[in-house]
Symmetry: C2
Subunit: 221 residues, 2 copies
DNA sequence: GCCGGTTAGGTGACAATGTCACTGACAATC
DNA sequence: GATTGTCAGTGACATTGTCACCTAACCGGC
């Protein structure tokens, strides 16, 4: 049973008639997930559509030797289509979603999803748009990985992760997993950034000293 | 005006009631595209959904320095959701689709698409499934590019391109564009393959001598 | 045939990135 | 302060990407 009216949070549901929203509030249920917990993964493929009510989920892929790369992040108000994608395609995959913050998820069972996407244009468009965003995200990842330099990519990612902040709390290994590279590579580049007075480092913490300088590197490519 | 009944070709339409299919045959129109022509691209974003009736389309992405990588291929019976994805997301992208063979495309205008995806479950599921396949394809590309060795990737790709054949007609540059790498790299690896008696080379042509050996390399990772 | 232009492919030097093995630094805990 | 685990630094080396330049094969015309 649901207390909060989550339907207001999502573009695809906020515009629906009140009676539909009430029906939805009944058929979906709300779950809490704690920071660091897995939302979905290769062993844990849900048969429902996820809506992220609050928090942030990091979706990443892991190679068979254990290296990791972050594919994209799901923010509040967005839906997670990857799991449904894999469901539909009935294919193995090795992406997983990790809650980066405490997360509130709305789980919509497949029957309700089907009915809704057939009856409500707004909802269907919302879902299509979600798919589209993910496709575009992945195009960007492919472009970065295939053609980008890592100093550029690292500068970009640092600025994104530390947007509006003075520092980024992350180990070199964390950053390596963001970009799908090795820790040593991150160490090298960060040391270079430090020599150029763009950042300061301490254990698990990177402090900005010259964001403009980093932006110059990030925008270079 | 359409002569052929293309609706039989697609999972999402073949099962529809006859009267719906007849309506579809009227609202969509069929286009021919010649080998090598661009089906869509950054400068040419159509506002319709594509169905590939016959032929094959290669979807690739180009870096800003001109290097290219093949993302996936669209085969007959499949639909092309990337263009609609980009339409919906209203974002720039730099993927393009090239006809690899002479191609017959069914173009379904957006209004018809909307009506159909709301009224017909089979059609909607077909479209969702198409999105899913593309997402999965891209996950695979990311995995390959981020974590794969190129000798492995090249062996794989050669076997795919030459499936059931004795040879592959492609220049080193073509293969480089398949994998998103540089021609010199392909040359090196192919020379290595040749030294190991896995292939023979001549201008624009690679002949298999030991497919099992290639498979061993391809499956290694 | 020959000639000249175009394209495909080869090569070596070097730069960038990834891998490996090992080391030391730091923090938490007992 | 000794122990333990995590984090980061380092040098050697392998792989991959870049650059400049070269040669070989093909193609069209004559």
């Amino acid at each position: 049973m649901t207390i909060l009216d989550w339907t207001a949070r999502f573009k695809g549901t906020a515009e629906l008639p009140m009676e539909v929203r009430e029906r939805l509030n009944k058929s979906a249920h709300v779950t809490q997930i704690k920071t660091g917990d897995q939302v979905f993964g290769p062993m844990n493929i849900p048969d429902s559509l996820f809506f992220l009510y609050e928090g942030r989920i990091r979706v990443s892929q892991t190679s068979d030797v254990g290296r990791e790369i972050v594919l994209y992040r799901i923010e509040a108000g967005d839906s997670c289509v990857l799991t449904t994608a894999c469901m539909l395609a009935e294919e193995a995959y090795n992406a997983e979603g990790i809650a980066e913050t405490d997360v509130t998820v709305v789980v919509l069972p497949k029957p309700a999803f089907d009915r809704l996407s057939s009856e409500e244009d707004a909802f269907r468009n919302f879902v299509f748009a979600a798919y589209s965003r993910r496709l575009i995200d992945l195009l960007r990842v492919v472009d970065d990985v295939a053609f980008g330099r890592i100093d550029v990519r690292l500068a970009e990612r640092l600025l994104t992760l530390g947007d509006g902040l003075k520092e980024v709390r992350a180990t070199h290994q964390d950053l390596a997993s963001e970009l799908g590279t090795a820790r040593e590579v991150i160490s090298r580049v960060l040391n270079d950034f430090q020599k150029r007075d763009l950042i300061e480092q301490s254990r698990g913490l990177i402090t900005f000293k010259d964001k403009a300088g980093l932006r110059a590197i990030a925008n270079f490519a």
